[in-house]
Symmetry: D2
Subunit: 339 residues, 4 copies
Amino acid sequence: MLIQLIDNCPQQELENIMAQLKTHGFKGNLVETLSTRYIISNGKKEADIRLFGNLPGVKDIHIVEDDNKLVSRKWRVEDTIIDFGDGIQISRKDLTIVMGPCAIEDEQQVDTTLEFLKENNIRFMRGGIFKPRSSPYSFRGLGIEGLKFFSQKCKAAGIKVVTEVMQVSQIEEMYDYIDVFQVGTRNAQNFNLLDELGKTNKPVLLKRGMSSTIQEFLASAEYIFSNGNEKIILCERGIRTFEKAYRNTMDINAIPYLHDKSHLPVFSDPSHAVGIRDYVEPIALSSVMAGADGVLIEIHQCPQKAVSDGAQTLDFFQARRTIQRLRETVALRNKIMVG
Amino acid sequence: MLIQLIDNCPQQELENIMAQLKTHGFKGNLVETLSTRYIISNGKKEADIRLFGNLPGVKDIHIVEDDNKLVSRKWRVEDTIIDFGDGIQISRKDLTIVMGPCAIEDEQQVDTTLEFLKENNIRFMRGGIFKPRSSPYSFRGLGIEGLKFFSQKCKAAGIKVVTEVMQVSQIEEMYDYIDVFQVGTRNAQNFNLLDELGKTNKPVLLKRGMSSTIQEFLASAEYIFSNGNEKIILCERGIRTFEKAYRNTMDINAIPYLHDKSHLPVFSDPSHAVGIRDYVEPIALSSVMAGADGVLIEIHQCPQKAVSDGAQTLDFFQARRTIQRLRETVALRNKIMVG
Amino acid sequence: MLIQLIDNCPQQELENIMAQLKTHGFKGNLVETLSTRYIISNGKKEADIRLFGNLPGVKDIHIVEDDNKLVSRKWRVEDTIIDFGDGIQISRKDLTIVMGPCAIEDEQQVDTTLEFLKENNIRFMRGGIFKPRSSPYSFRGLGIEGLKFFSQKCKAAGIKVVTEVMQVSQIEEMYDYIDVFQVGTRNAQNFNLLDELGKTNKPVLLKRGMSSTIQEFLASAEYIFSNGNEKIILCERGIRTFEKAYRNTMDINAIPYLHDKSHLPVFSDPSHAVGIRDYVEPIALSSVMAGADGVLIEIHQCPQKAVSDGAQTLDFFQARRTIQRLRETVALRNKIMVG
Amino acid sequence: MLIQLIDNCPQQELENIMAQLKTHGFKGNLVETLSTRYIISNGKKEADIRLFGNLPGVKDIHIVEDDNKLVSRKWRVEDTIIDFGDGIQISRKDLTIVMGPCAIEDEQQVDTTLEFLKENNIRFMRGGIFKPRSSPYSFRGLGIEGLKFFSQKCKAAGIKVVTEVMQVSQIEEMYDYIDVFQVGTRNAQNFNLLDELGKTNKPVLLKRGMSSTIQEFLASAEYIFSNGNEKIILCERGIRTFEKAYRNTMDINAIPYLHDKSHLPVFSDPSHAVGIRDYVEPIALSSVMAGADGVLIEIHQCPQKAVSDGAQTLDFFQARRTIQRLRETVALRNKIMVG
């Protein structure tokens, strides 16, 4: 059961609702986001909403049988739109293209990439400054100093910064320099990190854990939402299976499934999902037809020299073609989905 | 190493080539198909093709390092086209749509389905008459009697019959009534069945085993080809993973990957790959953008009454919309892939 | 619902039971094995057994909610014992050790192996004569001629022959030469083969499919049983997972689980489950403590020269040590499980 | 290449070695643990150790081709022993039994459990005070206050505390109250946490990620070791596969494999690996025969009332029997492995 409170619900009315819930054997979790307040109740399933619907302070009440209630489409049927306030939006009407290198390497690389993005009217740049690496001896990113010049240059170009946060202590450190916090696949169930990101007011691009079920993926999003942050992007990036011909197995089914179950935007990361340059474009295009609201694609001015993930990275020539084809594909999708 | 023999290569020249191979430490496997003869040699990898290239009887010679040589694109760079001789082709230029029920149930069902297919200009009907079922107590298909009326009605309608063969003894029994033999996922490594299908002259639609790697999938196709039948269609139908929200996990990566490694046509079966009606269309459309040459989709005049697989089956209203969208999508694909 | 009929149940009484089932909305499947006859009913779950328990011809009646009723322990609580009639039994009290090469190669190999087995008091020899191979160009076994000398030598030594059958047509061909039919992992859902093996009177050692769930594994056994053959051995041989450090992932959980759900004997195949010689022994010993009734282990007088699976094959020196340790382990197990 | 430095290696000699490495194209990573200092070099693989072996300051030098060098048995052939200095050791000669509830619930529960452990001569108690939960609305542990009484009671009983740490900020907070830091499966690739645990001097029980490969698992241990902490315990706790009959799939192969590749002790967690009470004991016993140096088993005075994981938790009666059988099994193992 999910109870939306009226705006400025008086404390006394809130307490009364909580008391009524308790009387009828329910536990209530108060969730406060920037836009409103909710009570999430996980008591007996056979709740009778008539018991609570008319209590003072209740704006609306929904039966949501899903374990993950706040992110469920069962109570919020409209798609969540993430609005950056300057005309840039993440929404289902458009396709958000996020491009950039695996890792930020130096200023010149950022300049070159931004130039390419501007030419192609791309509004989001990705680039790692804290890199989770399987070996402790590998390059682990430029850190906060790298983020500073990356951020400053993006701002100047009118382009949003998307970069990975790896631990709680980095949130504050990074806050002023980023537009979207990215949570990587290895931290998809780092609940402390999710809790703290839920207390911020920046969008969170949440990658699916490489072996997370859809339910667990939505539960990770629920962690963020229930701490107060409604701006969440779900990102399918391939799962781990027996097949080793490619880096991961793109779970294309997840895209329509997540759209059906949740009101949150759903992105696709074809670069990691297949991990081989030549197949990134077809997987990106197929993601669009499956309904993706955005794609993350790794690009580099010279993939052969990239410090990481070169094998799955497009050069600018390839990226330009892919952007063009993505736009033609989304135009078709928008046309036939209405028609 | 793959050696193509000249047309009508004399027996003596063939024997000489074989002897030369042996002298240099290679084993030769003679493969004879309707169109030509090949020798497949799996000896030492560092073969020097100059030793054999000028022998009498040799038309062409290719180094093919793949384990699965005949199905590899390394020697045959052109896409294989399967031509039915009556104007119907399976080729990369067009999208082959195969529709029909999971199981043939009765004559009326076949009539109704054929009417729908004709209206929508679909040229292939699927329908099981031998059904592999997980429980021995389930309906196992109408058998050969069902095939007879299914076949007769399809012929009258100018529509090709695609149906599953489960064991060697059925090949002869079914031969005159079918246009395409389908091999199901549970028989994807039934090597005796593949051997015998390789000795026929009918196209084989080979479904990927639910846990077959791409290499094993191609090896199964190699079994068919090496027995003499070049008319093979590879069909991705979802693999088994940890994710249980859907019936299988569509391995969309496989579509561009198979196209890259093999000259054979690649189909997609979204019905089994996701197993939930509402997601069949988006997965079908995404398969097209990933490069699929054909799609298999389960339809039924009344899915609620289907004897099997109802939950993943489209009704005619849904199917009509999906056909329309598939055709718009393939038109876009053909346009942008050239552009 | 599972109904056991009285011995020599008259046809009329049987028909009456069937009619009563139908009247109450149930479907009855008659199953006839060497020892008795059963009716398996898969109708509504909420069957009231009092409706049928007193009908003439009914010996006993059980509610078995499992999908796979005949192989379930819910109606047959005693462990199935497979008795060869000459003092050799497969039962839970003892550990059945099956050893031999992956493939039968020649007479001398059989002689050498049998000598080793006799010295060590092993009563079952495994050895492939029809080999399922991933490549069509690999050695596919000596075939029926190999089986003849293999069988004749085993008989002379008082040792049972365990070998794989790959297709229906081989059953009759092999029948007189084998003691146990083995079904390989790739044929675990070859339902036609299972049906036909169910009509024979020889024990069937059924390997789990490499991606079969436990439910599917039991369903495959149900196929055999429901065709009339009660002599079935379930064999866990490793499943396919993301982990590629070893050939397969031994699913040790399956051993106690299968024992709990089914009355059939459960074997373990550590050679295939791990696929690396040095780890075969610890996995074999651990299988015993998990409750395995038997183990299949590949051995060869010279594993380096084995035509297949050499990397997972023990030499005689190693095998002797493993046999000794297996026997000490099973002695401990039998002691502590009682104590 | 792994270079061990002499004790008290002068800074100048260290710098000289680093310079020589650089001259020859190698990168050197200095690793300092409590007992000694190492240089890990990941340069060209074809290093000639004679170039460096005689440099002043070098004690020993090893070619270690594994990616994870410090945890590899290739340079340290002896098993790592973790000594608590009070007569309690984790070593291969004995079996370390760690028991306790999933979550610490209250003081009385700790008292009752400790009494049971003392009676049975168990020296390690597990119990979660920070609980990673898939739903944000679930009980998430008593936190640091719970740890305080848990720790104080264990100290009084002479029993070691094993409990999970979830994030960097908790390390210092928990430090004085714990004997072994446990890293849970969801944090197995939380590299920041591993880094910081590597800077402490307390043993770390590292659980395998639910979808970590063996290589990734060892890399996670390498993170800890390369930060200076050599006291690491590897714990197999089941992996995620397609099989859903049990909570996870115990990867029993991992136990001998990890012992072969690494000098670190290897534990098994049968409670999570199978997740069903009745099968915990057979999986525990089988882990011992596979070579486990320790087992973690969840117990509770009343599993039906446990706040989490009740279904896989043993009551004291069952636990007593399991302890007895574990001890008999390890006695046999130690006997036959020598014999």
